[in-house]
Symmetry: C2
Subunit: 344 residues, 2 copies
């Protein structure tokens, strides 16, 4: 199907664009009253994620309401641990909690390699979204990066330091590599099934990249992401790939040498410097501080324009440097999008 | 009083040393069974902080037990908000919680400028420590950086994103500056009283530096730290000053232009690159990943030696890149110290 709005894919591939495309991490979520209404219909977050019709509905909401240039499938990076045998619950105000965690070799042995089948509810949702979007904008598929998934599997919940997970890397490095290998295989299967279902571009989220030292990142995180990129590029050369390693400012140069087309930046990362590190064959994505959207309209306009100028029009996808904060005013989110689109 | 072990001050000032001095953030704390025994005698953390004899006792413990080259006064950065009128409680496993928070101009108006007097229990503890140490090693005094203190005052508790505090910067920038000014004044009074009581070197902790964008850091954090450095240098030119802006890798160059003698690095920051950014008239401090101390002895030795080599012997103070994790094995902490001292 030919996309009516192809800006995101063009920018990812380095083609010419009239203006940078824009979408927002967590655009399908609590920031929209329309999302909250759907959320109320189900008993928990998991039910929303695993019900394809509802997941599809909230995926499309921001395209209609905010006018963004892409939809991103409504899901969670933790569907992978679940498909491998570690189910999670999402506790309101607290985040994910796992009943079982990985503590050693035996636990790793028991984990299954997730196949596309285990995650049918996601690919079903993708098919519905693609049909309903009817080519209006591209659809982004995604998965967590192996290190971030390991971090949750070992720690069992969110954490400021993930010291249990980092302890695991230092105390059981071989087991960690075995676990990362299993996660990476599951992730590749999962991403392939997303492409088959119709995802137009894929993003890998390494949300906890920034708590590893550069040396640990180079050993336990980067190689798995690099290899996933390579494998996905072979599988579907026309599907652009994005990597977002939050906090890992030291990794931009290395990702510049991989098969990823797009490198996501958080709001700490210097725009000009990152361009140099990434190299001119990569597209950058980001990186506004999500807290900016708490400011008044004039400040939002001024800071957004400053960001646009710093990135330049070529090889750039406008976004935040992290997910939207749930208590952000929807009108200000839309205003941010409109400033990028040159409409206000 | 002449110090028998003057390594820390010599390294801070850039003088010649036989080996780099070493101390550890959170060396006086739960990692030591001897600390936990003292902690059991009191009903809460606050009581330990505010009882000079006990605070002095746990301050000296790591000098005796771990053989570090400095003591750091046992206290908390949150004594400043408390002295200004916002008391906190330290909840086990959760961290600090404030009953009242700062929400607007009126709350800021009500805050007092802390004087040395409000914090007499700290300076009393310093006097006891100095007497009991009897010149064995120098004593480090410290305070939180204004931005980090503001973050707690507004947010009211620890947070992964401190989005309330960051919202405050974007929505009430003038109030934020007024609050930061009051905190900075309180901090200078507090640090002066620490010097008067006998602190040999001072460290400013900007624990939440890394969640601000470089532009926000330049506006709301750096100038207050710079000015505190300037004022303290005028007050006591012979007292070395250290700044540790955790996560603010982008700030090293700017701190290189200030009155701080020592710049602390976290474990994400590149050692060689930081040397260049800081300039050759600054001493660097850090930066081992505290999770390394979960590893086996051979790994600890190997990685520690790698760190020592990367920093070089001159203008270097060995430390971790963050505080010790409480569940670290005391023997491994001591081993880390001994490797640095060249004793194992």
């Amino acid at each position: 199907m030919i996309l009516k709005n192809n800006l995101l894919l063009e920018a990812a591939r380095g083609g010419p664009v009239n203006r940078p495309p824009v979408w927002l991490m967590r655009q399908a979520g609590r920031v929209l009253p329309e999302y909250r209404a759907v959320r109320k219909k189900v008993k928990n977050f998991r039910e929303l994620v695993t019900t394809p019709e509802l997941a599809a509905e909230v995926t499309i909401q921001p395209v209609d309401i905010l006018g963004v240039d892409a939809a991103i499938i409504f899901s969670d990076i933790l569907v992978i641990p679940e498909a491998m045998g570690l189910p999670y619950e999402m506790i309101e105000e607290k985040g994910p909690v796992f009943r079982k965690t990985v503590r050693g070799e035996e636990d790793i042995e028991k984990l299954e390699i997730a196949a596309g089948d285990n995650l049918r509810y996601v690919t079903d949702a993708i098919r519905i979204v693609k049909k309903e979007l009817n080519g209006r904008v591209p659809l982004i598929g995604f998965a967590g990066a192996p290190w971030t998934i390991l971090a949750y599997m070992v720690e069992g919940h969110g954490s400021k330091t993930f010291s249990e997970a980092r302890k695991f890397l230092y105390t059981c490095p071989d087991s960690a590599h075995r676990l990362l290998g299993k996660i990476a295989k599951s992730t590749v299967n999962y991403l392939k099934s997303q492409v088959d279902a119709g995802a137009d571009i894929l993003q890998l989220f390494d949300s906890w990249a920034g708590i590893l030292s550069p040396a640990q990142y180079a050993s336990f995180a980067f190689p798995y992401l690099r290899d996933i990129g390579k494998e996905m590029k072979l599988y579907s050369p026309s599907t652009p790939l994005t990597v977002f390693a939050k906090g890992a400012f030291f990794s931009v140069k290395d990702f510049g040498q991989t098969d990823y087309d797009v490198i996501g930046l958080d709001w700490n990362m210097d725009i000009g410097g990152s361009r140099v590190l990434a190299g001119k064959n990569k597209t950058l994505q980001g990186n506004m501080d999500p807290a900016l959207l708490y400011a008044d309209y004039e400040t939002i306009r001024k800071e957004t324009r400053k960001m646009l100028e710093a990135f330049g029009k070529e090889r750039y996808i406008a976004n935040l440097g992290h997910g939207l904060y749930p208590d952000t005013d929807k009108d200000k989110v839309k205003f941010f999008v409109d400033v990028i689109k040159g409409e206000v």
